[in-house]
Symmetry: C2
Subunit: 487 residues, 2 copies
Amino acid sequence: MKELPIHIQLQPESGRTLYEQIYEYIRNEIRSGHLLRNEKLPSARFLAEYLQVSRTTVDMAYDQLVTEGYVEARPRRGYFVNAFEELCALDEAPKSRAASPDASGPASARYDFSPTAIDMRFFPYATWKKITKNILVDANSQMFSLGEPQGDLQLRTTICRYLHGSRGVSCAPEQIVVGAGNDYLLLLLEKILGRHVHVAMENPTYVRAYRIFRSCAYPVSLIPMDENGMRTDRLRRTDAQVAYVMPSHQYPTGISMPIGRRMELLKWASEKPERYLIEDDYDSEFRYRGKPLPSLQASDTDGKVVYIGTFSKAIAPAIRVSYMVLPYPLLAKYREECGFYSSTVSRIDQTILNEFIRDGYFERYLNKMRKRYREKHDLLLDELRDFETDFRISGNSAGLHMILTDRRGRSEEELARLAAEADVKVYRMRDFRMRDMESESAAVKKQERERDTEDAMLILGYGGLTAEEIREGVGRLAAAWGIDRGG
Amino acid sequence: MKELPIHIQLQPESGRTLYEQIYEYIRNEIRSGHLLRNEKLPSARFLAEYLQVSRTTVDMAYDQLVTEGYVEARPRRGYFVNAFEELCALDEAPKSRAASPDASGPASARYDFSPTAIDMRFFPYATWKKITKNILVDANSQMFSLGEPQGDLQLRTTICRYLHGSRGVSCAPEQIVVGAGNDYLLLLLEKILGRHVHVAMENPTYVRAYRIFRSCAYPVSLIPMDENGMRTDRLRRTDAQVAYVMPSHQYPTGISMPIGRRMELLKWASEKPERYLIEDDYDSEFRYRGKPLPSLQASDTDGKVVYIGTFSKAIAPAIRVSYMVLPYPLLAKYREECGFYSSTVSRIDQTILNEFIRDGYFERYLNKMRKRYREKHDLLLDELRDFETDFRISGNSAGLHMILTDRRGRSEEELARLAAEADVKVYRMRDFRMRDMESESAAVKKQERERDTEDAMLILGYGGLTAEEIREGVGRLAAAWGIDRGG
């Protein structure tokens, strides 16, 4: 069945020796992945006959490949391709990592307080597998067909119901658009909102969203925050048409926006027909203090809020299902401009997720994870009790991370460096502070000065760490930062 | 566990009766999907007590809901929500269908010669389930984590190998970007190519791609075709920077572009650094006549071709996995501008697909489907033998559809209408002909005149029909169009 994997067109008049041509061809096939690791090359005798060249010519080419490490000669078995694809992968990986907007500081550390890591150890794999298996048993060709562009009605109805019950979101299934991840939904939103939309964002903010807006060539105004979140007085000084906010638990500051500020934002939005608010409710499932806050969308009576949520955080990053709730004017525009875009989530995946939520597994898993994360949250807070002299601790009422604000005039760089030397990774707030487009000119220096005088803030995520790792990590931080742990 | 699904805040001073307020609240909860089909409402007695209103008030509200069909009274069991979500779905569905760019003519017919339908009856569901099951057995938390933005290296390596072997595509795994469907990849390509890119397309063309380019606000020049495909002399009269073509089997005309025209296109692209060709190789797997044509990308020595392919057609529409091969200059731009966009395909799905291809199931399935589709193709051609006096038959060397060109001066409308009256759906070429932006002004009339004098062309797809349906459908067409089947 298998064809000879060598299709060289030798060019005798090319001025290059035949041995070089054979060597280069095979090397390129290996480098480009067309010849795979452990693939057997034809024997030298066979290839020589096939190409009508001398045996010595092929031997020289093979020897060169062996010398350079592309090919391995196994005694009495022949020539085999070495694991070059893995070398390629190693070449590639650092680029991908560098492209991650959340990366900062050292590449990796033994104790990584990443604010985006989650704990997958308690995920009900068995349940997920069972649902998948049952669905595939019943699966008919319908399941393998292309679903509705907005997502399957059953899943949208389930999401609608869940959002109503847990977040007070008021919507109909027809307002929901399901898509493969928040990034995709923001791209779709660009098509709905149109071009040249001036966006306002909190600063610091979610870097990925900022980069997406910038890649849409949207002008972005960065609005400073006070303890209640985005300052609406500063928002009003801009020409922004859309404000992107995270009112439940701002990323990364952890600020929860109180109702007064929410009403100010809604009022701002309601003053002009083209104004909208994008509410990214990325981690609202986890809240440890006080009553669950309803969503901003729940207070919206004028159809001004686009609500975005995801299952990547509450279930698993591999579950590429996010959703947005469109107010009716934007729903009409979606249908006009984007109604033809095919759904990016397979029906099989939509069906699995629907049953996982509908049959109560999601709620049970959330309850379990709330408990687990609360334990980690309480442990971290407890471990940090001796840090209070040197740091203010905040943003800890919800989500999976908290903020340490330095009281002793040290810089984020210094603190992060000291931590890294102890093999602990903490995250610097300045990596989440964007620089204003407008301030590239004269105001830039003033802003830079302001930034330099701002207190150093470090972000500590705990979602992905075990209790033991939290204890050890904080112990190392205390030693590195000279915290007196006598207390 | 379950809470009372009624949270009415009655407003006695609102000027509206309490009965109206209760009725409207429940109606809205049903319309918005918060109360689901078959959900039991609280008994009238209980709700009256709970809301501290008279029993009569609640009875009146419930009666109104029953009268209007929102709620059903089941004797001795109580009040239950009717299947309103399905009514909503019915409301929604026609809009979704209308938004489909490929829809034309009557909404449905008994014998639908759709050019996009495929045959899923031979899909190896059992194999797919087995692979899924095995993967989930071994699944670890790694599988549920977010993969690389471009797609998993293993899958990219497998795709690379498949494309090299079957389509002569020359690329490395690092050049491949995996995404959830062609529509998504075109959105990503917009970010890579930049704004205000002038695109040239064949006319008629793939309507969905046209709409995506237009929704990116790209100026689009529609280039007429001759029997060899896109006319490069006409392309050269435009300022187009990118040409989108389907050289293997143009959709919908079925034209295969010969090597001479391909070289002209490649030459055009190589003349300026910013010029590129997008090759959409949507159905190249199925070819019935002559040698398989290699891809345009295979002839490209200057890195000028973006190759796009999909598994939605060759495997199943639900498999939301497409891929594009980026030439190196665009790969660099991708990494700079879009490297941070998360993958839209879950790792689980990528792993299933990888094993399906890697272990030879894909090739076996393709071989089987080539045989099945060739049988349908031959049958349709045979059944159409008496049509040759009235129609020229073309575009039948590949893919899943062919073209009938009228020789007797009838219009596409008339022929499609006569078919519809016999419960047969055929597709009109004019629904795939786009109107040039430039021609909106003066030239529009000329073009309209040209269009009117063009021969009527009808598209007959056979992928989704059984042999019996093809026979019966053609028989009905012969009767409807007055074909003499004596021969």
